[in-house]
């Protein structure tokens, strides 16, 4: 009798666990399904090649936002990558450097700060002194977002390499900087690239830090010191607009953004495997 109750209870709880999992998966499939179905309907040649139409008019496209996304994110990757790699190498290759402990702590703190505060910070230190919204200030905000991610992944990947590799280099008479640059970093290339790409994917989806830095721009712009558009910003602006055609294009932009992020993640996984 008691045993039967235990079996019943077991079956009930296992069923509940599967039910909970289903509860998690259903909305996910629901979201992805909507993005793909509604987004696919909005993608056409004009979407990729035309600037936006004036408010309320149908037609137009996302060209400025697409171009802007790449410019802003690549500038951010250049800045965030440099600082993140430098910090990561310092943490991994000079484990008892006095700067190590505080640096690791600061990176942890920075990693837990909401993205919108990066935007506030970039506004205060870049937009205000330079006198206007600019793509560059948006890149600064995204770069700060990337730094802790890149730093942590770089440190972890470098620490995975056997210490003998460094000793072999040193025994050949190479100075430490050559060991790091010519032995360690090439050996860890795949993992380092993976970290950079994951940070890029994480930052590229963010709209909050760009709201009052890159700001958005209806026209095609290549000027890093002027306001520039980006896909996440465009999705936000179009989603809360009253125009049906803009809302349709917001779904298209969401699909494009999700596809870009998935491609970046896929590339990151491949880079990891090719070590």
């Amino acid at each position: 009798m008691n045993l039967r109750r235990r079996y019943l209870r077991d079956r009930l709880m296992v069923a509940l666990v599967y039910l909970g999992t289903l509860l998690v998966l259903l909305p996910l499939l629901f979201i992805l399904g909507y993005v793909f179905v509604k987004g696919a309907g909005a993608l056409n040649p004009a979407f990729f090649t035309r600037p936006p139409a004036p408010p309320g008019e149908a037609g137009g496209g996302m060209l400025p936002a697409i171009v802007g996304t790449f410019i802003i994110d690549l500038m951010a990757l250049a800045m965030g990558g440099l600082l993140g790699l430098g910090g990561g190498v310092l943490l991994a290759e000079y484990p008892d450097h006095p700067l190590g402990r505080p640096l690791r702590m600061v990176a942890n703190v920075l990693g837990g700060i909401p993205a919108i505060l990066m935007g506030l910070f970039a506004f205060v230190v870049v937009v205000v002194p330079m006198g206007g919204f600019s793509a560059f200030s948006g890149s600064v905000a995204l770069a700060i977002l990337m730094i802790p991610i890149i730093m942590r992944s770089t440190e972890e990947v470098l620490k995975l390499l056997p210490w003998e590799l460094r000793e072999a280099g040193l025994a050949l008479g190479l100075p430490r900087w050559r060991v790091t640059l010519s032995l360690i970093l090439p050996a860890a290339r795949g993992g380092v690239v993976t970290g950079l790409l994951l940070a890029l994917a994480r930052a590229a989806g963010e709209a909050a830090p760009l709201l009052f830095t890159a700001f958005g721009n209806q026209f095609l712009s290549f000027d890093p010191l002027g306001p520039m558009d980006s896909l996440p910003l465009k999705i936000y602006v179009y989603a809360i607009s009253p125009y049906e055609d803009w809302i349709r294009q917001a779904w298209g932009a969401a699909l494009l953004l999700v596809l870009l992020l998935m491609a970046t993640n896929l590339l990151a996984r491949r880079a990891m495997r090719r070590r």
Partner: protein, 314 residues
């Protein structure tokens, strides 16, 4: 001789560059705290630190600013979302790591990781056009009509059933944080040694008893870490919440009615703030958000270190 200079000098230059880069990162973090503090100083001076933090009024026209509605909104949305997300995310973690066949577990784990990679604005977009009508027509309006007929006292608590408001924001927020708590719980459960489970099975335990008595207690450090990480994400989540919460800062909040969070008020008002006290107040709200997330992260760190010791988690 030459190689010595190349080695010594090269090493010195290299470490100097690395230290400069690391120092720059630390400088950025310090500068961030300082700029938010000094940017908000005007508001803190005008209303006093506690006067501003606990001030219940946010009136742009009258120039009176208090952060309490947003503080309350942030804590409320995050806590409720966490409460909603906890059991399903734990269930998903148990299913993936314990019960499901390997291939199925991997598919589910991949899908959940995908959920974490979706941008916040995409959740917001989906929320506005799919979730809001659903919630309005099938949850809020029936409840509202029911309370109008049977329990008029409840109507004030429920608020206007428009779909845009606290409830929708909390639901989307819960969806967004599930992957964070779930993936950490999954990793922790996978770390539980096989022998522990086998010993329990050998004693005649059922599948659920093994999970309940062995796996969950053993993995509780990691599970708790996931919860705190999810909380930290929820506190700072901006775009989806801004798009769904209705952005009203009239206290008291109601379940269906508009509300606001610290992140959402910044996103909503900052670009059109006309300088002066409003701008400073928004920066001060940013500083408070900075403090809050710092607090949560430090607490998480501390809890993790305490739980890791003596829990058998290596």
């Amino acid at each position: 001789m030459r190689s010595r200079i190349y080695g010594r000098l090269g090493d010195r230059v290299f470490t100097t560059v690395l230290v400069a880069l690391g120092g720059a990162v630390m400088l950025i973090a310090a500068l961030m705290a300082w700029e938010l503090w000094s940017g908000g100083a005007e508001a803190f001076r005008a209303f006093g630190f506690w006067g501003f933090t606990l001030g219940r009024e946010w009136d742009v026209v009258a120039g009176r600013f208090g952060a309490w509605p947003f503080l309350l909104g942030t804590v409320l949305t995050s806590a409720v979302a966490l409460g909603l997300a906890f059991l399903p995310s734990l269930a998903a973690a148990i299913a993936i790591a314990e019960y499901a066949p390997r291939w199925l577990g991997e598919v589910v784990a991949y899908l959940i990781d995908l959920l974490a990679a979706l941008p916040s604005v995409v959740y917001g977009l989906w929320g506005i056009f799919v979730l809001v009508p659903l919630v309005r027509d099938h949850l809020e309006q029936p409840l509202f009509l029911w309370s109008a007929a049977h329990a008029p006292a409840l109507m004030g608590l429920l608020g206007p059933p428009t779909g845009i408001g606290l409830l929708s924001a909390v639901l989307v927020l819960a969806l967004m944080i599930i992957p964070y708590s779930s993936s950490l719980a999954r990793d922790a459960i996978r770390l539980v040694p096989r022998e522990q489970r086998e010993a329990m099975y050998a004693l005649g335990a059922t599948r659920w008893e093994v999970v309940r008595r062995v796996v969950l207690p053993y993995a509780r450090g990691g599970i708790f870490a996931g919860v705190i990480l999810a909380l930290a994400r929820a506190l700072g989540e901006t775009m989806a919440v801004t798009m769904l919460i209705g952005n009203g800062h009239q206290l008291p909040f109601s379940a269906f009615g508009p509300a606001a969070t610290m992140a959402s008020v910044i996103a909503n008002e900052f670009a059109e703030a006309d300088g002066g006290l409003q701008l400073s107040s928004l920066l001060a709200v940013g500083f408070l958000l900075f403090l809050l997330s710092l607090l949560v992260n430090v607490a998480a760190d501390w809890v993790l270190r305490r739980m890791a010791v003596g829990e058998g988690q290596k």
